[in-house]
C-alpha cells in the first residue's frame, strides 16, 4: 500500500479514539473524582471510609457470584463438550436454542422465576408434598424403632432465599459460560487427541491431559463473563432474594436512583471496579492466551 493510504487508514481511527477518551476514560475519571470528593467538591476520604460498613455486602456478593459461576461451569462444560462433538446440524440447532432465550427480556425471564418459585406455586407445593410424604414415612419408621422425630414438618421456601438468587444468576448467565467453552473445544486440534490415543492414552487420560488444558482459555473467558455480571447484579437479588439478600449492586443502585448520594455510590463502584480488575488479572494468569477475548 502507498504511504498516503496507510496514513488515511490510520486517521479514520481518530473519531473512535476521541470517543473512547471522552466516553470510556473520562467517565472512569469521574467515578474516581466523585469517590474522593464531597458535595462541595472538596477532597475527602469519608466516602471510602464509609465503605467499611458494606464489607459484609461485598463478601456476600463475591460469595454468591462465585457460587453461581462454579455451578454454571459444572453445568456448561459437559453441555459445551457434547454440542461440540455432535453432528453439524445438531450443533447449529443446539447453539440456536442456547442463544434464543437471550432474546427474551432478561427482566421478564427473572420475573418469570418468581412465578415458578412462589410459595403457592406449582414447584414449591409439589416439592413440599413430596418432602412431607417422605417425612411422614420417616417418622413412622422411627416410631417403629421406638422413637419419634422431634420437630414437626416445616415446608421449605424457594423464593426470597439466597439459593433463588444463585439460581437466577446461573439461569441468566449460563449461555455466557457455554459459548466460549464450546468455541474453544470446537477449534481444538483434533489431531492432538488422535496422537494421544495412538500413544496409548485412554479416554479419561485424553480428556484430562488434552481436552481440559486446551479448553482452559474458554473456561477463563466464561468464568469472567458469568462472574462479573453476577457480582454486580441488582435486579436478580431484588426479585428473587427478597429483603434478606442485599448485594453490592443493590446498594449502588439505591445511591444513584433513590438516595441520591452519588459520592458514596461512586466510591462503592470504584472499589467494585478495582476488585473486578484484580479478579480478571488473576484469572488471566491462569490462561496463557494472548489477551484476545473469545466471544
Amino acid at each position: 500500500m502507498g504511504k498516503k493510504s496507510t496514513l488515511l487508514s490510520r486517521v479514520i481511527g481518530a473519531p473512535y479514539i476521541l470517543w473512547a477518551v471522552l466516553f470510556i476514560i473520562v467517565p472512569i475519571g469521574m467515578v474516581a473524582y466523585y469517590a474522593f470528593t464531597d458535595a462541595t467538591g472538596a477532597f475527602t476520604f469519608d466516602n471510602m471510609l464509609e465503605i467499611g460498613k458494606y464489607t459484609d455486602t461485598f463478601l456476600l456478593s463475591i460469595w454468591l457470584g462465585l457460587l453461581a459461576t462454579v455451578i454454571s461451569l459444572v453445568i456448561a462444560y459437559p453441555l459445551a463438550y457434547i454440542i461440540a462433538n455432535s453432528g453439524e446440524n445438531r450443533q447449529k440447532i443446539m447453539m440456536m436454542l442456547i442463544m434464543l432465550p437471550m432474546w427474551m427480556n432478561f427482566l421478564l425471564r427473572t420475573y418469570s422465576w418468581m412465578t415458578i418459585l412462589e410459595d403457592n406455586g406449582f414447584l414449591t407445593t409439589t416439592l413440599n408434598s413430596v418432602l412431607e410424604g417422605a417425612y411422614v414415612i420417616l417418622d413412622e419408621a422411627v416410631k417403629i424403632l421406638g422413637g419419634g422425630l422431634k420437630k414437626p414438618f416445616e415446608p421449605i421456601h424457594l423464593i426470597n432465599t439466597r439459593g433463588a438468587v444463585v439460581l437466577g444468576m446461573v439461569y441468566n448467565f449460563l449461555p455466557y459460560m457455554i459459548l466460549p467453552i464450546y468455541t474453544v473445544i470446537l477449534k481444538m486440534d483434533r489431531s492432538l487427541i488422535e496422537a494421544a490415543q495412538d500413544l496409548g492414552c485412554n479416554k479419561v487420560q485424553v480428556f484430562k491431559n488434552i481436552t481440559i488444558p486446551l479448553s482452559l482459555p474458554g473456561v477463563v473467558s466464561g468464568f469472567t463473563m458469568v462472574f462479573v455480571p453476577s457480582v454486580s447484579t441488582f435486579y436478580i437479588s431484588q426479585k428473587l432474594g427478597g429483603t434478606g439478600t442485599t448485594l453490592i449492586g443493590d446498594i449502588i443502585e439505591t445511591q444513584f436512583q433513590t438516595a441520591n448520594n452519588f459520592h458514596l455510590g461512586a466510591s462503592l463502584s470504584f472499589v467494585l471496579m478495582i476488585l473486578i480488575f484484580i479478579c480478571l488479572a488473576v484469572m488471566n494468569k491462569f490462561s496463557d492466551d494472548d489477551g484476545e477475548v473469545i466471544i
Binding site: R10, A14, Y16, M30, I82, I116, P229
Partner: protein, 274 residues
C-alpha cells in the same frame, strides 16, 4: 460407550428444560384470562389486544427500536473504521493502549459503566447549569459506547485474515487505494461487520442496566418500562409483548437458517458432492 451416548442425549434435554422453563411459563401466562401471572384462570387473547392500546409501552417500544438502529449504525461505522486503523497502527504501545481501552466497557460491570457515564453527563450538565441532561442523546451515546468493543472485536480478526497482496494487486491494476478498499478489503471483512452490527443491535435492544442510569425520565426504552412495571405487580400484557418479540425472533432465525442451509446445499451440489 453406549452409556456415554445416552448421557449425551439426556443431558442437553435437561439443560434446555432449565433454560426454557421460565419462558414456557411466561408464554403460558400471556394467554391468561385473569390478571395474575401466577394463577392460570383460562385461555384468552385479551392481553394481546391490551398491548396495542397501551400507549406508554408502544412509545417505549418505538424508542427502543430508534435507539437500537441509530446506535448500531453509528457504532458499526465508527467501529469498523477504528478496527482498520488499529490494524494499521505501527506504534506498538499505542495499539496496545487502544485495545486495552476498547476492552474496558466489556470487562467493567454494566452498573459501573452506567453510573460512570451518568456521572459524566450530570457533571457536564451541572457545568452549564442545567438539570435533566439525561435523555435520548445520552442514551444513544451510552449505547454506542458499549457496542463499539463488540464491533471492533468482530471486525479485527477478519482484517487480520485478509490477504494484503490482494489489495496491492488491485492497486497495481489501476485502482486507487480507496477503490481497492471498497472493492477488495470491504467484501472480505463484510461477515465481521455484519455480525458486529447484529450484535450491536441485539445488545442495544436487550440492555437494561446501562440504559437505566443514563436515560432519565423522558426517554424510556422497553426494558426500562418493564422494570418500572415489575416494581408493582406485572400484568400479563408484558408477557404478551415479549412472547410476540420472541416469536418474531424465532421465525427470523429459522428462516435465515433454512436459507443458509439451502444455499450451502446448492454449493455442495454444484461441486458435485453429496
Amino acid at each position: 460407550m453406549k452409556k456415554k451416548s445416552l448421557f449425551s442425549k439426556i443431558y442437553p434435554v435437561l439443560v434446555f428444560g432449565f433454560l426454557y422453563a421460565p419462558i414456557a411459563v411466561l408464554i403460558l401466562f400471556s394467554f391468561n384470562s385473569g390478571k395474575s401471572t401466577a394463577v392460570f384462570e383460562g385461555f384468552s387473547l385479551r392481553w394481546y389486544e391490551e398491548i396495542f392500546r397501551d400507549t406508554a409501552t408502544l412509545e417505549a417500544f418505538k424508542n427502543t427500536v430508534i435507539v437500537a438502529v441509530v446506535s448500531a449504525v453509528v457504532s458499526t461505522v465508527m467501529g469498523t473504521a477504528a478496527a482498520i486503523a488499529i490494524n494499521n497502527y505501527k506504534l506498538k504501545w499505542f495499539k496496545q493502549a487502544t485495545l486495552t481501552t476498547t476492552n474496558i466497557p466489556m470487562m467493567n460491570p454494566d452498573i459501573v459503566t452506567g453510573i460512570s457515564m451518568m456521572l459524566l453527563f450530570v457533571f457536564i450538565g451541572a457545568l452549564f447549569g442545567k438539570t435533566g441532561t439525561l435523555g435520548f442523546t445520552t442514551l444513544t451515546i451510552a449505547h454506542v459506547t458499549f457496542q463499539l468493543p463488540y464491533v471492533i472485536l468482530n471486525v479485527l480478526p477478519k482484517l487480520r485474515q485478509t490477504d494484503i497482496h490482494l489489495s496491492e494487486a488491485a492497486q497495481d491494476l489501476g485502482c486507487t487505494p480507496i477503490q481497492s478498499f471498497f472493492k477488495v478489503v470491504l467484501p472480505q471483512i463484510m461477515p465481521g461487520i455484519i455480525s458486529g452490527l447484529m450484535m450491536a443491535f441485539t445488545l442495544s435492544v436487550d440492555d437494561f442496566i446501562i440504559s437505566y442510569f443514563v436515560s432519565g425520565t423522558t426517554s424510556q426504552t422497553l426494558p426500562i418500562r418493564i422494570f418500572s412495571m415489575t416494581k408493582k405487580r406485572v400484568t400479563p400484557d408484558m408477557y404478551a409483548l415479549s412472547t410476540l418479540i420472541f416469536l418474531a425472533i424465532l421465525v427470523l432465525l429459522v428462516v435465515s437458517n433454512i436459507i443458509t442451509a439451502r444455499s450451502e446445499g446448492k454449493k455442495k451440489s454444484k461441486k458435485g458432492g453429496a
